[in-house]
Amino acid sequence: MKKIVLTSMLCAGFAYGDIAQLLDEDKRTFDSSRYIPDISLIGDFSYVNRSINDDELSHLGLPGIAHGLYAEHAHGGSNEATYNANQGFNFNYAELILSSSVDPFFSMDATFHFSESGVEVEEAYFTSTALGNGLRLRGGKLLSNFGYINAQHHHYWDFGDMPLVYESFLGTHGINELGAQLQWTAPTPFYLMAGLEVLQGENEQMFGNESVSLEEFTGDEEDRIEGTDAPSLYVGYLKSSFDIGDTTIFGGLSYAQGDSLLDHSEDEDEAHVFKGDAKLYGADLVVLHALDSYRSFKWQTEWLSRELDGVVYGDLTTPENFTSMNKKQSGLYSQLIYTHDKNWRMGVRYDTIYQNDITKDSVDMNEVDDFNKYSAMIEYHTSEFARFRLQYNRNEAMYDEAGLRQNLDTIMLQANIAIGAHAAHSF
């Protein structure tokens, strides 16, 4: 009996075995493997050594502007890790990028950040390809094209960290929102582009529109600081560029305006909520001079100025008491990068926030208004797909709770490695 079963099984194997083999590509009937999108993976790792340890660092900040820049920042339940957060080794992300055309009218792109704290959708959007007349429509979660560096992914930055003014005003991810974007490239002989974006407005560092529950403070579940309607963030910009010989000049003016609801109710000390309006002005200028096919100088400067106007609920147990507050803050960064050949690049960057005018109930708070940071870096590329960077930062913009400045020196060794079909970057 066993013998019969075994032999019949063996026979069946021989008779039907070759159906299990994969047919040649041109013989498969319903094969869609040729439509697989472009997939790439970019891994970013760093080794960091700082002059101030992680615990102390999490208590430092820029008074009146931002705090918790150098720590795993817990906000409203979600853990938003900053890049290069820890002393020692850091696994910043494994960025998975998928990209493909959808049909003759659209393309779609998505960027996911995988890290040890989970997956973050950095971007997921569809873009029109056939509107004509220089128009381009994009919808989904996207990096706003405000300013110059905002739309660039971290792996494309010239330094391992964001410029101080961007990180302080907008957070490490800049303006990264769900919404719609319309760009129009003018039919001019030189590059001229105008763009408009309507965004949800959830940026936690400067904007926001969600109501904040005060139940844990007042005991009443009805108590809350009312949010505003979404979408609440509007961005507009104008960019232009022209060439003079081998030099390219690219400049832009940007403006963002939105409701602001900053929830600091979970903060350890001085828990508060700010509600008001926020306006952000930006101007950027990039000059690229190419010496030959591989050598170039790139000078990049951006100026940001913001105004937050509204009220602060300082004592969350009594939300009927609030003080009016107005913040006018401005800063800029300027960096010069020299690309020596296909392997070596080096650069320096200066960051500053020079205006920090805060008035509470019309009283000038006389806050510190002199924040400076200096950075230098040198990179080695083994190819366009792998980069090793050594960076030194001197940060003279951090203050402790006592209001004393704490200078911070950082040395970072970063590795950024890419595999797969990664598309080229725009200027």
């Binding site: 220089g134 490239t185 002989p189 690229l288 096919s293 296909k342 190819s383």
Partner: protein, 299 residues
């Protein structure tokens, strides 16, 4: 009085017709200068050509300046080389221009590599072999035989997007073909005695030129495509040169000749600059000049 009135009418008529005649010209955006030259030759007065890349730069690494975006946006058609040569810089320009006429695979878009037989297709596609071109060697225009095929391809393309002037394009192609055949015979004669000559290159961009005239490429100064020279590989090349005795190093105009000069000093063979496109060297302002130079360069 009547005389001036009729004159004014004529001027008015001309003025209103002038912008219309400008509209009649097609603006064709092209990636490299050689494509621009071919398109202008076949298109004649019916086309205006905008070239995106400069002829003396490395064709793989063109900076995607924003000015190229407006050139793309204002174009009625796009002709590119293909074979992944433009993959490092052209896609973001096409995407940002938002011009449906320059989107890949529309009828006003032409990828020349789809109309040429590519040689040296790699058996395995993996970046550990360097920056290889998966479809084969994309530098197919450096070959007089292929230039004729490309000219015919462009003639057919222009005729398909502008049927009104197809007779003009046909005539222009026939004139070009006649002259080009004569030149090809001259170049063939010049290169006859170079058949079988062994050469070294920096990067294998003369593959088609070498094949057409029987030159044999025995090695490159780059250890792998797109990877800069290393001391180990340079020594290997020097040994190879001493063993096989090639005539010369054929060098492109955009890479530094530092390593080539060093090898030349150690082995005695000469370094010859070989332009890869129009404007790659001064005085090379058209396709004939390019091949006149290339066929005269090796002595």
């Amino acid at each position: 009085m009547r005389h001036t009135l009729s004159k004014m009418k004529k001027i008015l008529a001309l003025l209103t017709l002038l912008p219309l005649s400008l509209f009649a010209q097609l603006t064709i955006a092209v990636s490299y200068p050689y494509i621009g030259a071919l398109t202008k030759t076949i298109g004649g007065d019916e086309v205006k050509v905008t070239v995106l890349a400069k002829g003396n730069w490395d064709p793989h690494f063109i900076i995607p300046r924003p000015s190229l975006i407006s050139k793309m946006r204002n174009a009625d058609a796009l002709i590119m080389n293909g074979g992944q040569l433009e993959i490092g810089w052209l896609p973001p320009i096409i995407n940002r221009a938002g011009n449906p006429k320059t989107m890949p695979n529309t009828k006003t878009f032409l990828n020349l590599s789809h109309h040429i037989k590519l040689i040296n297709k790699p058996k395995s596609v993996d970046r550990k072999h360097g920056d290889i071109h998966p479809d084969g060697n994309p530098h197919f225009h450096i070959s007089p035989k292929n230039i004729l095929i490309l000219a015919k391809t462009i003639e057919e393309f222009l005729s398909s997007i502008d049927t009104k002037h197809r007779d003009t394009y046909k005539k222009n192609y026939q004139e070009f073909s006649k002259v080009w055949h004569q030149k090809m015979a001259l170049w063939k004669k010049k290169m006859k005695d170079k058949k079988g000559l062994k050469v070294i290159q920096f990067h294998d961009n003369l593959a088609y030129f070498n094949k057409e005239y029987g030159l044999v490429n025995i090695g490159t100064i780059e250890p792998l495509p797109g990877i800069p020279p290393s001391s180990k590989h340079t020594i290997e090349i020097i040994d190879l040169i001493k063993e096989k005795q090639p005539c010369c190093i054929l060098h492109d105009v955009y890479h530094s000749t530092k390593t080539a000069d060093f090898i030349s000093k150690k082995t005695g063979i000469k370094v010859i600059l070989m332009p890869h496109d129009i404007e790659a060297l001064e005085n090379i302002d058209n396709l004939s000049a390019l091949f006149d130079y290339l066929t005269s360069a090796i002595k």
